[in-house]
Symmetry: C2
């Protein structure tokens, strides 16, 4: 038996998830069965969508039950294998959740080549967040050269890449973020043309000034007050891929008024907007193009990325709270165990 | 000189437009200049979109100025012509507005053949409302056989056709309307599978019961409380063409809360909705198919239509108020002058 730790759903959180909702507990992992491998978690990905999995509301994914390990992708090392396709020491991408170890079917794993890029990038720029930015912007945003692309949560795992892909496509890239240093990062590190802090008192005026030709593509990660400021700036035939609505994730019931639904509906009608919710795994046909293009952009220096590492599974709950309140700087990753490739 | 009447914008209305905003006045029409014709209005089309033209807010059309005749399509007769392409007695479709006569460039007119169909249908089933239903449903709703299509304002000029085209495409057609006789008309006359009265106390339950397999296409004419009832019923990958938001047309400022924007944004994300505002004149490439198909459907009895005639230009303002409050039954048309083909 291997002894480790895992974080399980103890109760459905009301509002911000805390330690009473997400409980760290000891766990034991036996030997892998036929076709299975025993994994040791190296990196654990924390992403805003996980808040939706901690709820019983309708979602696009299976509901997490009380006692289940919280779902997540990890980069893990094979410790022992009962699948002829994997050997101890192999580095794999696994949907193994918030825990130090896991027993997984070999067929559910994807091998990672440590020679190509730092293995943590399989959770970020070369993984789900990178692909989300790529397919959401290109398929549902359809940016054309010379257009203005605006993205909220601009310094986050997805947003930082949306702006850089927009620049590669010849667009003006404007970010929205919630701190001065995040805005500086978007401009100085990721090459956005401008980035506006939504916590500034004159945010609406600054956003309008940053988009002198209006908004052609708005990549939505946040919603809430950020969306309200974007609505008046849409151009005719603008596109709005909806990737996330983090402003609402901890909300209980509907907020007080006024009711902004009429303003949004009018903007949709008058501007002939295309608003499209999307989830990366619906777009699997774009995955080969993504891997080829993104790897090329990283090699050529056209795409940069920023990761924010937090050490220790025991710090995952606090780090997740920080993610939902904007404390992270770049793609949030929990370093659960030693990285043998680093 | 020909003496007649016209209705002009006297002031921008606040809320429901009234006789102080839309003033009937005497008018004189001279002789047509080079390339022009003098028209006598037979039928005047009243449509909800006209409320948007009586405002200074951003819209997809030119703003009506104080003193301008209110814009509208008409079916008119050529009285005298200085354009070799037109002769007295010709029946034409004209954008000549709320008036008894007009001088128009011949090149802006489209000839109507009275042998094909009653000439008033050029304002309805074979005109803008018919084309709006056709292109909005087929291009932006993309109904597939066996799906459920819901349309608000189901007995109106557009809605009655959306349901019938949905049936032709093999879908379940469910209407939403604001009176028991409108709902009966949708089912008995237009062949909808069901139609629900949004003024019923248990409207939400009835709508859910009428859509046992959820909603795949929601053709939006109304918004407001009707949309709020639709939001929980969307299926994954549902489409929502936004044709109108009549519930808001007379609104001044945003309504009181709660704020339903979060509920709508969550539905967009979780269901991967495609929400698309559209206006018929962006879809001109579909016009030939529309004319061919719709004429065929009318001939074969697959499409029926209902018109609601009101006599006299002097009654246009009251009739328009009735249109915005749901008093009409079918496509609203003002009979301004005698129909020589009837």
């Amino acid at each position: 038996m291997t002894t480790g730790q895992r974080i399980v759903l103890a109760q459905y959180p009301k509002g911000m998830p805390g330690h009473d909702d997400l409980k760290l507990e000891a766990a034991e992992y036996g030997a892998p069965g036929d076709g299975e491998v025993l994994l040791r978690t190296i990196y654990l990905s924390l992403d805003p969508y996980m808040r939706g999995r901690m709820s019983q509301a309708k979602s696009y994914a299976a509901i997490t039950r009380i006692g289940d390990v919280i779902t997540a992708e990890t980069v893990s090392e094979v410790i022992s294998s009962n699948d002829p396709g994997f050997s101890p020491g192999d580095i794999v991408l696994a949907r193994s959740g918030w825990q130090s170890h896991a027993i997984m079917k070999g067929e559910a794993l994807r091998r990672i080549d440590p020679a190509l890029a730092p293995i943590s990038t399989a959770l970020g720029v070369l993984g789900m967040p990178g692909f989300t930015a790529y397919c959401g912007l290109l398929k549902h945003g359809r940016p054309k050269e010379g257009e203005t692309v605006v993205v909220s949560a601009a310094s986050g795992a997805v947003g930082q890449l949306v702006g850089q892909i927009a620049k590669i496509k010849g667009c003006r890239a404007v970010g929205i973020a919630g701190a001065a240093d995040k805005c500086a990062m978007a401009v100085d590190e990721f090459g956005f043309d401008a980035c506006v802090d939504y916590k500034d008192a004159d945010f609406r005026e600054k956003l309008a000034a940053a988009c002198p030709d209006g908004i052609d593509v708005y990549f939505e990660n946040v919603a809430g007050d950020v969306l309200k400021a974007v609505i008046p700036l849409f151009n005719f035939f603008a596109r709005m891929p909806v990737c996330g609505t983090i402003a609402y994730y901890n909300a209980q019931g509907l907020p007080e008024g006024p009711d902004y639904l009429p303003a949004f509906m009018r903007a949709i009608l008058v501007n002939r907007l295309s608003v499209r919710g999307f989830i990366n795994y619906d777009e699997a046909e774009m995955m080969p193009d993504f891997h080829r293009e993104m790897a090329g952009w990283i090699r050529s220096g056209k795409v940069k990325y920023r990761e924010d590492f937090v050490d220790g599974l025991e710090n995952a709950v606090d780090a997740f709270q920080g993610l939902l309140t904007g404390k992270n700087r770049g793609k949030l990753v929990i370093r659960v165990g030693d990285d043998p490739t680093a």
